[in-house]
């Protein structure tokens, strides 16, 4: 039976300000809780990455809490630089936007593994519909750096329409509606 057990694939919203991930548990999409706490108004966490003086790396809420004391080494809204040659220099080390995003994805992967109690390899990441090839490739690369196999990039509006249909229709109908949407 264990061979036929379906491997879990997590869905990631890698946002400019906040990020979140969810997974189907018993057929229902469940948001994966962030280990360090969520943003004020929901279950997502801020897309912040920071490096402290003592060389510690912070992702999410802790990074945001110390942002004003350490603005040089705190990175936010890295999504805006995805797919560009822009580099972030922190403590004399250069990071590409993919690498910074990978830190956020790594945290999500860890949270998901803690939540589900099993290793996670595969993920679907949403991207804005206007993302070009470079930006999409960069997002996929970020996933690879984080140790995730990005099985698909889904346009954010498509993800929204999918989520709308999830509890409303049979699976086939959802795909029909998505195909309809993509036409």
């Amino acid at each position: 039976m264990s061979d036929t057990k379906k491997e879990k694939i997590i869905g990631i919203d890698l946002g400019t300000s906040n990020s979140a991930a969810s997974v189907l548990v018993g057929g229902k999409p469940t948001t994966i809780p962030s280990a360090e706490g969520a943003s004020q108004y929901g279950k997502s966490f801020p897309s912040y990455v920071a490096f402290t003086e003592d060389g510690q790396m912070l992702v999410g809420e802790p990074a945001r809490r110390q942002a004003v004391t350490n603005p040089e080494n705190t990175i936010s809204a890295i999504k805006r630089s995805m797919g560009t040659d822009h580099k972030v220099t922190v403590n004399g080390k250069q990071y590409s936007p993919q690498e910074i995003s990978a830190f956020i994805l790594q945290k999500i992967k860890k949270d998901a593994e803690t939540f589900l109690g099993e290793p996670i390899q595969k993920a679907v990441i949403t991207v804005p519909a206007y993302f070009d090839d470079n930006q999409r490739t960069a997002t996929k690369d970020a996933g690879t750096i984080a140790g995730l196999d990005v099985v698909r990039l889904v346009n954010e509006p498509t993800a929204a329409s999918l989520a709308y249909g999830l509890d409303k229709a049979e699976e086939d109908d959802i795909w029909n509606s998505v195909e309809e949407y993509l036409k």
């Binding site: 018993g26 402290t52 912070l58 802790p62 809490r65 110390q66 942002a67 004003v68 004391t69």
Partner: protein, 180 residues
């Protein structure tokens, strides 16, 4: 065709017929066996399907029961705290009946202390902030300022208090941190 030849052909035909009969019998038996196997597999499959359906139903029921129990737990978990709060609430009511401002102030002070005791009893404690070193696990920096009396990285002022609930941060304190 001679009689001898004819009888030979008859014998041959008979042999063939017998062989054919035997083969037919064998194949029939094989078909019967396969049919039985198929029936067995089908009934087994049906059994597994109904088993999985029953397990799914059991799981759904278990989930419902657990959810209900959790809801009950959550619903009444605050009972004791609310009882303590009610005492304070009643005290406020009594305090408001006083007409003398001095007495009212004294009364409110007493209630404030009582309230603090209730919170402390429940495991809620204030997070020390002013004069402490900024700790991102307890504080949230809202601003940075330079101050001659405070060391770099230490808290100059607390803008909003923070609280711990047992070993968990309930609310991070919002602070101004010194940065030279």
């Amino acid at each position: 065709m001679t009689d001898e030849n004819k009888s030979e052909t008859e014998v041959e035909t008979q042999d063939l017929e017998e062989k054919y009969e035997a083969l037919l019998e064998e194949k029939n038996q094989e078909i019967e066996k396969l049919q039985k196997d198929l029936e067995k597999s089908e009934s087994e499959t049906q059994e597994y399907i109904s088993l999985s359906q029953r397990l799914q139903a059991d799981f759904e029921n278990f989930k419902k029961i657990t959810d209900k129990r959790n809801q009950e737990l959550v619903k009444f978990a605050n009972e004791n705290v609310i009882k303590d709060f009610l005492d304070c609430y009643e005290d406020f009511g009594r305090a408001l009946e006083t007409e003398n401002d001095e007495d009212l102030r004294k009364g409110i002070e007493l209630i404030y202390n009582k309230f603090s005791d209730v919170l402390a009893k429940e495991g809620v404690s204030e997070i020390p902030a002013k004069g402490e070193k900024f700790d991102l696990n307890k504080h949230e920096a809202l601003m940075v300022q330079d101050s001659p009396d405070v060391e770099n990285g230490y808290i100059i002022e607390e803008l909003m208090k923070g609280y711990m609930y047992k070993d968990k941060v309930l609310k991070y304190s919002k602070v101004i941190v010194c940065k030279k």
